[in-house]
Amino acid sequence: MAESTTEAAPPAPVEVEHASKWFGNVVAVNDISFELRAGITGLLGPNGAGKSTLLNMIAGFLKPSAGAVRVGGEASWLHPSIYHRVGLVMERETVYGHLSGYDFVLLNARLHGLDDPQAATRHAIELVEMTEAQSRRTGEYSKGMRQRIKIAASIVHDPDILLLDEPFSGADPRQRLHMTDLLRQMAAAGRTILFSSHILEEMERLGEDVLVIVGGRLAASGDFRAIRRLMTDRPHAFSIRASNVRGLAGALLAEESVHAVEVEDDRLIARTRAFGAFTSALPRIAQASAISIYEVAPLDESLESVFSYLVAR
């Protein structure tokens, strides 16, 4: 007779259930719920949105005021055992300045109680391409180098969950590219990676899934491309200075992608819902009307306004 067994699904590496955090009267994180599985997830939001508070709650450094935050099925608050599985890179860039890069990572390896801390240290430093600079004092490192040696320290125990708060801060384009590749490799090997950023382009390079957080609330979550489309298809406004503002305004009104035009002294404001169609039509229309365009400036283009739009939806 065949026996049937029912196995409970393993808990998600990171579970956030109706988590809130408030400091006095200030609500930093407001009733947020999500689960993270293996792969890279971006935590996107403007400065002060609550990203670091959320990361700190997941990392066990803030007690949720309400709700639950679990890592590997275990509450992260008051359970240092989660750090067997978790690597954390904080936004603050301090390191032990009197230690060399090698000694700094080695200290972290030894604090984790690894069997062969020296080998783990060498491997982690190689991964972040800091072997050449490993003998120098971390106090002499550039911001980007400090960031990389911090990442080496956070992965020295080979964690399966990696939490990174603004990890690319201070890195040059080549270092960003390398770190992106490294995080992709780690995600491909089955690790769960959550990284925060307030820069949309960083998400574009790295974030497969994205959590958009604004004012402490989860404004959007899911596939980055779908969210990016939402951001692109929102209403855009452009300020345009040209040799013949009124002539250009008339020509633009005939364009399908433009739904409103206002003329103000020596410039016009054009409003569109089709970003791509408008930006390709504008030079064509100007050329056909023999009008010179001196300046095209997007209005209301700050990240905060994009987030506000998402929240309003």
Binding site: F61, R92, Y96, L111
Partner: protein, 245 residues
């Protein structure tokens, strides 16, 4: 793991300008002892003179200040500059972190103050009968240092301004208030240390003038170590990354 945390903390405490300043502070009793030995005729019991001059300077000034600086820096500095996160993101019981930190601060304090007291005392007592005065004094200093650094380390986990609070404790509570309000002496690490010095040295120290009996001193100083240790561990367990008062 405790040894690793302690050695890491010692490298932080002793590798900086602060240890040089503490060395200069510890040199004061030695300088005074040399001056007294060279310039003054010592006709009284040399043990009492040594206890009065060196003991007074060490117990009133050098020990509490060195313990305050090392005790608050051991954890407080890591909280201040944000590096404590590297210790807290490890699967290590918080009591081991605290014990390692306190152990390092205690070792640094005991070595700096103990060497100062030993050299200054030896300068005054050289060639004179002194029994076991010096080892007894250094042992009492070590015991007092433990109570002080435990107290100051716990304060530094709780308060960003632990150094100022500690200065108020040393110079207002212990040095001033205890003269006018006898009840406050019961909560004075300085008084515990003085009492233990007198008991170990078996010498009536008229300049030191212990105000609490030896049993009370031992019980109370042990309680200080245990209670502040427990409190410090609890604070570390519930440590939240945000601004402190």
């Amino acid at each position: 793991m405790i040894a690793l945390v302690a050695s890491h903390t010692l490298s932080q405490l002793l590798g900086q300008r602060r240890s040089l300043l503490m060395g200069l502070l510890a040199a004061i009793p030695v300088l005074v002892a040399v001056l007294v030995r060279v310039l003054a005729e010592l006709e009284e019991d040399p043990r009492e003179v040594a206890l009065g001059i060196v003991g007074g300077l060490v117990l009133n000034l050098v020990l509490p200040l060195v313990a305050l600086v090392f005790g608050t820096a051991a954890i407080g500095q890591e909280i201040e500059d944000g590096t404590l996160v590297y210790l807290l993101t490890k699967p290590i019981a918080r009591w081991k972190l605290l014990v390692g930190k306190v152990l390092a601060a205690w070792l640094a304090t005991t070595v700096v103050v103990g060497v100062s007291a030993a050299i200054a005392g030896a300068t005054l007592l050289l060639g004179r009968p002194a029994d076991l005065l010096l080892p007894a004094f250094v042992a009492a200093v070590a015991w007092g240092a433990l109570a002080y650094v435990s107290l100051f380390a716990a304060l530094s986990v709780r308060y960003g301004r632990a150094l100022i609070i500690g200065l108020v404790y040393v110079f207002v509570w212990e040095a001033t208030l205890s003269r006018f309000a006898p009840g406050t002496r019961l909560f004075s690490v300085r008084q515990y240390t003085v009492s233990i010095v007198e008991a170990l040295a078996n010498t009536p120290a008229r300049f030191l003038d212990a105000q609490v009996d030896t049993t009370t001193a031992v019980v109370m100083s042990t309680a200080v170590v245990l209670v502040t240790g427990w409190y410090g561990v609890r604070l570390l367990q519930r440590y939240e990354l945000r601004e402190r008062s």
